[in-house]
Symmetry: C2
Subunit: 101 residues, 2 copies
Amino acid sequence: MAADLARAFKALGDPVRLRLLSLIASYDGGEVCVCELIGAFTLTGPTISHHLRVLREAGLIEGERRGTWVYYRAVPKTLERLSALLDVRRSRHDAIERSVS
Amino acid sequence: MAADLARAFKALGDPVRLRLLSLIASYDGGEVCVCELIGAFTLTGPTISHHLRVLREAGLIEGERRGTWVYYRAVPKTLERLSALLDVRRSRHDAIERSVS
DNA sequence: AACCTGCTTCGACATACATCTAAACAACAG
DNA sequence: CTGTTGTTTAGATGTATGTCGAAGCAGGTT
């Protein structure tokens, strides 16, 4: 339990991945081609691909190949779950305690 | 910007720290003595102290020494900020894009 | 078929991190 | 002042992570 949650937070714990998720989630249509993402950084393709994999395995995004290109989109359910967990007002951390232990 | 946010998420990206924050935030009175925390894990004192430092430097908790003991409590403002950032419904990720870039 | 182009996987490297033991520090009790 | 207890810091060590270049794979195009 705690390990799964920690994996998601850890995935967000890198500036590149945070920006990647932001770009993906804020894109019109909710989908972005990887080629767009690579262009937004001064990093190599393999590095971006690695970060996308980490985000994907954490359940934060999901990708789909259509023809030549691969498109990624955010997974709102996962984001909501993390958001609710940090919402002190709503959960008063009873939920955290339950999820985490 | 993105680096600061990533630091906070990275701090949450460890099962031990996630449980620590949970324990601290859910404790009656909102404060916990370090001695209570150490007892809740099978880790050594120095290791717990290290994790508390990471959480503290990420702005997620703050500690205070009173006499012999040190007490930690959560910082709701930081938690709220992170929670809002992940709340897709509220921010539609325009806020993320602004915070992160 | 042969060939591009877009993306991922592999192997290597340097840096960062979690954990421990030992030592230092802080507050109190005798 | 000396010892005891609670907490942090320092140093050491094994593992994980971010990055790259080179190679592999998938889908077009010619």
